[in-house]
């Protein structure tokens, strides 16, 4: 087991706990998707893991080490990279400079160049657009750039917060495909939060349904996709269902 959360209680205000005793676990090289309604605490889970929030109770264990309440930069050094919601690239800098910012804390130039080559290998189009201003990339390209930037530190695990946010269906499809391919090619572990539950579960091995700061259901992704309750609540009806209703 790579990551384990046990009875985690955490929140932004002292009096209001967003996570109310949540437990979940992620195996090495797994893609796990968190789904659930707004306010269930999906993003809060990722922030608690990456150290932006300190749990008041419970523990976060990564690779056998307790990282609950550890500073974000140290969590990153443990090998957990957080790609937050929305755009986090530097718009005025070039694509290449954005990638280099990902490894800013690495002073070994040769190592940075090796990793850059590895990222280029995964995303060949980065090389062609290396000098382009990041702000001129499309939303999907920027999301992939942010993922590429996170890879510059060679993390073992990536936390993705709504990777498809603001993308049209075709582009979000490409982003999900890329995440899935990334796992297959590098063996990276992915924990992702996704509003677009159908696509998120589509590339995941397992999924958790979160509600009111707790995990309500834990199933394999295919079981969740087939579960009628989940379908009704979180997947949204297809066109056929809407027409029949």
């Amino acid at each position: 087991m790579l990551l384990q959360l046990q009875n985690v209680v955490a929140g932004y205000l002292k009096t209001v706990d967003v996570l109310q005793g949540l437990s979940l676990q992620v195996e090495e090289a797994e893609i796990v998707c968190l789904i659930g309604p707004n306010g269930a605490g999906k993003s809060t889970v990722l922030r608690t893991i990456s150290g932006l929030l300190t749990p008041s109770k419970g523990s976060v264990v990564f690779d056998g080490q307790d990282i609950s309440g550890v500073r974000p930069d140290l969590v990153l050094q443990h090998g957990v990279a957080h790609v937050p919601q929305g755009h986090s690239s530097f718009p005025e800098m070039s694509l290449l400079e954005n990638l280099l910012m990902g490894a800013y804390t690495v002073s070994d130039k040769a190592l940075v160049n090796r990793r850059l080559e590895a990222v280029y290998e995964l995303f060949p189009w980065f090389r062609d657009r290396a000098k382009q201003r990041a702000g001129n990339l499309s939303g999907g390209q920027q999301k992939l750039l942010e993922i590429g930037r996170a890879l510059m530190l060679e993390p073992r695990m990536m936390l993705l917060d709504e990777p498809s946010l603001g993308l049209d269906p075709k582009k979000s499809h490409t982003v999900f495909d890329t995440i899935s391919r990334l796992r297959d090619e590098t063996g990276i572990t992915v924990l992702m939060v996704e509003q677009n539950a159908r696509s998120g579960l589509g590339i995941s091995d397992r999924g958790y349904v979160l509600e009111l700061g707790r995990e309500r259901l834990e199933r394999s992704a295919s079981e969740l996709l087939d579960d009628p309750r989940v379908a009704q609540l979180y997947l949204g009806g297809g066109i056929d269902d809407t027409l029949q209703a």
């Binding site: 974000p72 530097f90 990902g102 062609d128 499309s138 999907g140 269906p169 075709k170």
Partner: protein, 348 residues
């Protein structure tokens, strides 16, 4: 023609340097040497200022504080200790840089317009000190120092070459910083200081260092200017007009580019001098100059170099469009719209 073009494209730096080396030998009148020297001082200062104002995005309007401090240090050490400004100016500028690091550490707590105002206040404080600490600075009448030993026949030619050397050094430093990890951090600060902090840039240290490096080249110019003038007074040594020249030159050529500040200085200083020369009888030259600046800012808002670069890039883009890899095309915005799944009319 095209052969000349490619030659210029590859070796334009050496062509430009060569021109600057022979310039005082071709235009021998002292006027041209003075003009060249003044232009080089502004070009060097603007190259330094650009490291803070251009790369880091902290636009100081008070950096001539360091110009003034070094001007006085050079004059005082020449009078009291007999130091030769040709070696004392770059050396004392290092001392001024230390002062700048301390002041920068205070200044860099402010952001945006607050930073600009704080730097102006810094300049005014030092000007007040220069005016009032009469035992050291001589007060409002200023200080004189020994004349340069060479014959007036050569006028400012030695100063010109001396400053040309330092301009080359300033450009090398600026280019090195632009390519270094430190420079990358500066660009990130300009873009988004919070994000820069998040990915591990020590933003405070970077800002303070950028403040210090930019101060060095401005202080250096102040020291040499002091020697060339032989007489300095607070209102000229600590003048916001020096900052205006520096900042305008940088903006005109291209903020945040390596060559922009130099190009800007070589247009701005001879240009304003030409206008002064032709329309100088009244204050009309200021109006002409103002109109020119407005026109340039309207048509080239990002400065000459970035605007030209954009135009070239746009031309290149249209000629080589639609040749990307598949993943890239899937994500690019140029694909035809109207194919969003789920929007077709429902089957009966």
């Amino acid at each position: 023609m095209s052969r000349v073009g490619t030659f210029l494209k590859q070796y334009w730096m050496f062509v430009a340097l060569g021109f600057l080396l022979v310039y005082p030998l071709i235009w021998r009148a002292p006027y041209y040497h003075v003009l060249g020297f003044n232009t080089l001082i502004v070009a060097t200062a603007a190259t330094g200022w650009n490291i803070l104002g251009g790369y880091t995005g902290y636009k100081s309007l008070g950096h001539s504080t360091f110009f003034g401090i070094n001007a006085y240090l050079v004059a005082i050490t020449a009078n009291e200790l007999g130091w030769n400004p040709l070696w004392s100016a770059p050396l004392l500028a290092l001392g001024v840089t230390v002062v700048a690091l301390v002041l920068g550490w205070i200044m860099a707590r402010a952001k945006g317009s607050a930073f600009v105002i704080a730097t102006i206040a810094m300049l005014l404080i030092f000007r007040l000190l220069a005016l009032n600490v009469k035992s050291v600075t001589g007060g409002a009448p200023g200080l004189s120092q020994p004349l340069a030993p060479w014959s007036p026949e050569y006028s400012r030619m030695p100063f010109y070459y001396y400053m040309l050397f330092w301009l080359v050094i300033a450009l090398l430093v600026s280019a090195y910083i632009r390519r270094s990890r430190f420079g990358l951090g500066l660009l990130a600060i300009r873009d988004d200081e919070g994000k820069a902090n998040m990915v591990g840039v020590n933003t405070t240290l970077s800002k303070v260092l950028a403040f210090g490096v930019s101060a060095y080249f401005i202080a250096l110019g102040g020291g040499i200017w002091s020697y060339a003038q032989t007489h300095i007074a607070p209102i000229f040594a600590f003048s916001i007009l020096n900052d205006v020249d520096t900042v305008l030159a940088t903006m005109l050529g291209g903020l945040g580019t390596l060559w922009g500040p130099v190009l800007g200085a070589f247009i701005l200083i001879p240009g304003s001098d030409y206008i002064l020369f032709n329309f100088g009888a009244s204050q009309f030259h200021l109006a002409v100059f103002g109109v020119l600046m407005v026109v340039i800012i309207l048509f080239l808002p990002r400065g000459i170099l970035p605007s030209l670069r954009d135009r070239l890039a746009a031309r290149r883009e249209t000629s080589s469009a639609f040749t990307g890899a598949s993943t890239m095309e899937d994500l690019s915005d140029s694909q035809p719209r109207g194919e969003v799944p789920g929007r077709e009319a429902p089957a009966p």
